[in-house]
Point group: C2
Chain length 657, copies 2
């Protein structure tokens, strides 16, 4: 990714500095610096509480009717609508921020997982960059009376002579075009060959083109998520991602989770409908990926056409894989949770309804079980976990959280029913990560005033997963709630008795984008605790099943959209993640898509995938006796066993004082 223009902001009186991209608003900049500014309305300029004084430099905007001309002249700006355009010095007045005395306890520097970068060059260095599909130019001698062998035989001889390729089998679509192709450019052709994963098997001749086009070798990587489908168009020769696109999985209108999709698929024609819907989404993504190919890519100035796509590698969870392939998913949701298959043969992409040429093969990631799917396997591959020496915990958090623990020698895995809390489900004002969702938050430790930051800087309408995590952690760290997730008896205008126990008002109706107050209550917090407990208990159970301890972990890998937004300190404070050196936490983003891409670039990896899947021992947590105890023990903030969380234990002293 290109790095844009950046500016340094110095906040007074704390004198904290932060470097942010031009265009960031001041409230986000303060949050990045670990500073609190009161802000109820999520950054929409409505509540007018986030006044700051710009002492040096100038900002864009920063003024609504909430700010008087006099104050504006004095340098006051509304932080939430003031945009960074230069280096700045900004003072947070006491009424907006926190008092001098509290500065020492202001949240420390934020910790997010460092991003794992997919390194094509490293694959090349290690000699495992070996695309499954290769394009070879062949100059052949035209037929004559003394050499009138068949066109296909001529090509095969050419591949043997010029590329030392043997044991070839010619795909049927090639037969239908080769005569014309050979003669269009005086027997100069480009042959697309598909290498088998097992070198003992035969190399497939999948396509032929007239002329020399070896430089144009393209493939697709697709991640089919329950919610979103992502695709990448790959230059298979270089390994580069040319374009990337995403779209909502069109199945979503039939249910948000896999269970409701499976139930729909069980109706007459339901499976075909589910399959058609996601195929349609993928076709849309493919079209946009190609539409966005403009020159120059590779060596020519031509757009990339659909006929130039030779392969598509696909990763998805087990249910999405079944629905996409049209495999009956019924037993995935019924004990003992049996999928139709965990391995999938290479399938002609056009047989799956994909708008791809007849020679394009779809390579679908294998799964481990009904609830540890190809997306997780792809993540284990894409993140490099399968070949690290470090004892690693891999977590992909969604409705189900999938956990993998191990290293290059062994791998154990399980799915945890975390429930939908991290996606906003089961939370009174929970919502998906969409415009208006509170995604970031801080709490004034003196006044308990909130700093709500919403997606799109619109007045808040709800709380998404990352916001929920930070809110609960902030309430807990600031002693508003206890280890059981119950509110302490503290007096504040923002605390009140609601229908579901005590609740904290994040935003008053007048500051919100909805006509009611936005709150978080004790039932919400309990649901959150259930979710985090399921994940932590799952990880602890798994690692103890192999005779190790949580403390033996050497690395944590976070995957999934949620992973990128996780505030690591918050995650450890609430006991979602084990307490850990934050530098050893890696975020891989869409691990599924990354794994799909790697398979599209390396036959070594495709071969290793099979070994990795066979190595991954899947646990059905509900069948492991100790899991229930672990789960109950985890139903505390951060945990009943505080020796596991010494850093949190130290912080909690301030509440009991």
């Amino acid at each position: 990714m290109l790095r844009g223009i950046e500016h340094t902001i110095t906040f007074l009186p704390s004198n904290r500095k932060v470097v942010v991209a031009a265009g960031t608003n001041l409230i986000k900049a303060a949050r990045e610096a670990g500073l609190h500014i009161n802000a109820s309305c999520g950054g929409a300029g409505v509540c007018g509480k986030c006044r700051v004084i710009v002492e040096q430099g100038d900002v864009g905007g920063g003024r609504s009717e909430k700010l008087s001309p006099d104050d504006y002249a004095l340098g006051y700006r509304q932080a939430c609508i003031a945009v960074v355009t230069a280096d700045l010095t900004v003072r947070i007045p006491q009424e907006s921020g926190i008092s001098g005395g509290a500065l020492a306890t202001a949240v420390p520097e934020r910790h997010r997982a460092r991003m794992h970068v997919f390194e094509v060059d490293r694959l090349k260095q290690e000699g495992i960059f070996e695309p499954p599909v290769e394009k070879l130019c062949l100059e052949l001698t035209p037929p004559s009376a003394v050499d009138n062998r068949a066109d296909v035989g001529r090509m095969i001889q050419g591949l043997a002579d010029q590329y030392d390729l043997h044991r070839l089998v010619t795909g049927f679509p090639v037969l239908r075009k080769i005569r014309r192709v050979m003669r269009e450019n005086n027997f100069l052709i480009t042959v697309t060959v598909g290498r088998p994963v097992n070198e003992k098997f035969r190399t497939q001749i999948v396509n032929v083109q007239s002329g020399c086009w070896a430089s144009r070798n393209f493939g697709l990587a697709i991640d089919i998520g329950t919610t979103t489908v992502y695709g990448q168009l790959l230059d298979v020769n270089s390994g580069k991602v040319l374009t990337e696109e995403g779209d909502y999985n069109a199945q979503i209108s039939y249910g948000e989770d896999v269970i409701s999709r499976i139930m729909y698929a069980e109706r007459p024609e339901g499976l075909a409908r589910m399959s058609d819907l996601v195929t349609g989404t993928i076709n849309g993504v493919i079209k946009r990926l190609l539409d966005r190919t403009v020159p120059p890519y590779g060596l020519t100035t031509e757009r990339i056409t659909i006929d130039e796509i030779n392969s598509v590698t696909i990763a998805a969870n087990t249910t999405m894989t079944h629905l996409f392939l049209g495999l009956e998913p019924e037993n995935i949701r019924r004990s003992p949770y049996v999928p139709v298959s965990t391995f999938f043969p290479p399938i002609r992409a056009s047989d799956l309804g994909l708008n791809l040429p007849p020679h394009a093969l779809a390579l679908v990631y294998p799964a481990v079980s009904s609830y540890v799917g190809g997306d997780i396997v792809a993540g284990v591959m894409g993140s490099g976990m399968y070949r690290t020496e470090l004892l690693t915990l891999y977590i992909d958090i969604g409705t189900n959280a999938e956990i993998v623990i191990g290293n290059r020698d062994w791998l154990v895995c399980a799915a945890c029913s975390a429930g939908p809390a991290f996606e906003g489900g089961g939370i009174t004002h929970g919502m998906r990560a969409a415009t208006g969702a509170i995604e970031d938050f801080s709490l004034n430790p003196e006044t308990y005033e909130p700093m709500n930051i919403t997606i799109g800087h619109k007045p808040p309408i709800g709380i998404c997963g990352s916001g929920l995590l930070i809110i609960v952690a902030s309430l807990f760290e600031n002693c508003l709630i206890n280890q059981a997730g119950r509110f302490n008896p503290i007096k504040s205008p923002r605390l009140r008795q609601g229908r579901s126990g005590v609740e904290y008002v994040l935003a008053w109706a007048e500051d919100a984008g909805v006509d009611h107050d936005i709150v978080i209550n004790e039932v919400d917090i309990e649901n959150f605790i259930r979710a985090k407990a399921a994940i932590f208990a799952g990880a602890k159970t798994l690692i103890e099943e192999v005779g190790l301890q949580i403390s033996d972990l050497e690395q944590v890998i976070l995957a999934g959209a949620f992973g990128s937004y996780i505030d690591l300190d918050c995650a450890m404070t609430v006991g979602l993640l084990p307490e850990f050196d934050t530098g050893k936490v890696i975020y891989v983003g869409n691990g599924s898509l990354m794994g799909a891409r790697m398979s599209g670039l390396s036959n070594h990896i495709r071969k290793d995938v099979v070994k990795v899947v066979r190595k991954m021992t899947s646990f059905e947590l509900s069948e492991v006796a100790s899991f229930k105890d672990q789960y109950v023990a985890s139903m505390f903030l951060p945990h009943t066993d505080m020796t596991l969380f010494p850093r949190v234990a130290k912080k909690l002293i301030s509440c009991t004082r």
Copy 2:
């Protein structure tokens, strides 16, 4: 084939006996006995010349208005409409037959090639009966909490445990049905596996069925001829042919020979049209093959359904193969005669437009060259030529005659442009072998009166290939024509000057089924000589190219519809076949269909086919310098070099006397 009821007919005065099937007419019986009865009208009872006296036993019919009640009472019958229903003694009166003196020179016993019988039992004895598709019953343990592996994994483990099968790959259609199939009969299933030709490659799981159906394993063998498509439905477990059907290739309305089909295929959409037409014909044949399956076959009393067909093996000449597969045939008809391919991968039958289930594979016979196609290769396999020690000449006569010479160690082959004479083309009154065609003939050596036998016993309307051969041989043996094929100056009401030289009247218009006389003239005879010369010269050139002589041949195999009707003595008399012990001539019938069937029953043979094709050295006769000389030398009856035909030379003495 079942042998029907037969009767013995004793002909007087020659006292020759012949055994014929009940229902045979007396004129055919006489012909089988080598006796001549004058008969112009082809056996339609019109000319009334074929009167015989039934002295013992009784016949059915034998009376038209040409026979008076008095003669009928005396035992006279018209031989051509008198049907054998019992043992008989029949006298041929001199006016119908030939005089006593000529009896000694009456044609000797007829020689036809003995039929080669396809022996499944021998394949089994030799251990090469190994069907490419096998059905296996599996009883599996249902899933449980402690064993919830995927359905496909369960099946694969079952195949490993119960049948020691490994290296399996599951076909995509299997994935789509296995869940339901497994549970329909409490995890008792039947697995259809496709064995690879090369045992190093992977075994395909092509189908699964609920319950145990191992006894029902069916396949198809198809021969796509330029004129006719034949199919057989095979019980793959036993090797038996269950039903057999044929139909005209629907392409025939676009031209009778391969060149006109290729020309049509070169038009826009022409190739697709050609492909659709023959596919339609095959689908019709398949439907009729299945419609004719009535109980009991195998162990059940159910009809065979299309879903039970697992494979179809197809043999055809190179052009028919191209048009069927939709491969551009343009260069087959243009020097240097390059086909698109001579080897064809296994193709999903449904991709070819065949109405077969998605798992059924089409296995298409490889070809040697543009004019030595998969039909010939199939014939070499089906006839056993590829594994005989005997030096063998294999001839398949059609518009093109294909020749293969060799044995299990080496094989050379070529196509000879025989022209269409053997299919009635280029002959004044030539026609295909259809109703009314003169297919058999003899000549009264004294009166030169003909004995015409037509297909369907209708008044003659023309001459088909087998008739032409016998007519020319008879004219030559009876000194009516000389070695150059010109008529000798003999006086006969049947000989006259026509537009194309002298002509012999086979049937007067009043005895014919058309409104003109049916004749054979010197131009017809010349065309016939060209055709037979091309074949003989081709064979002689080929064998001499490998340093051997025609006299080294140890066996002749005739294939094709024409081959079954060839009178071997006539064929040697005219020099179509080398002079040879007739006992060493074998007729294989539709060698192409037989080969297709063998491949459908034996993976050994499928493997051998590839080796055989690589072994078959193809000669382009027009490129072999000596061929032209051989051809010119063969443009004589039987040949310019009479030392090659000592038996004919001896006969010819009677003409010069």
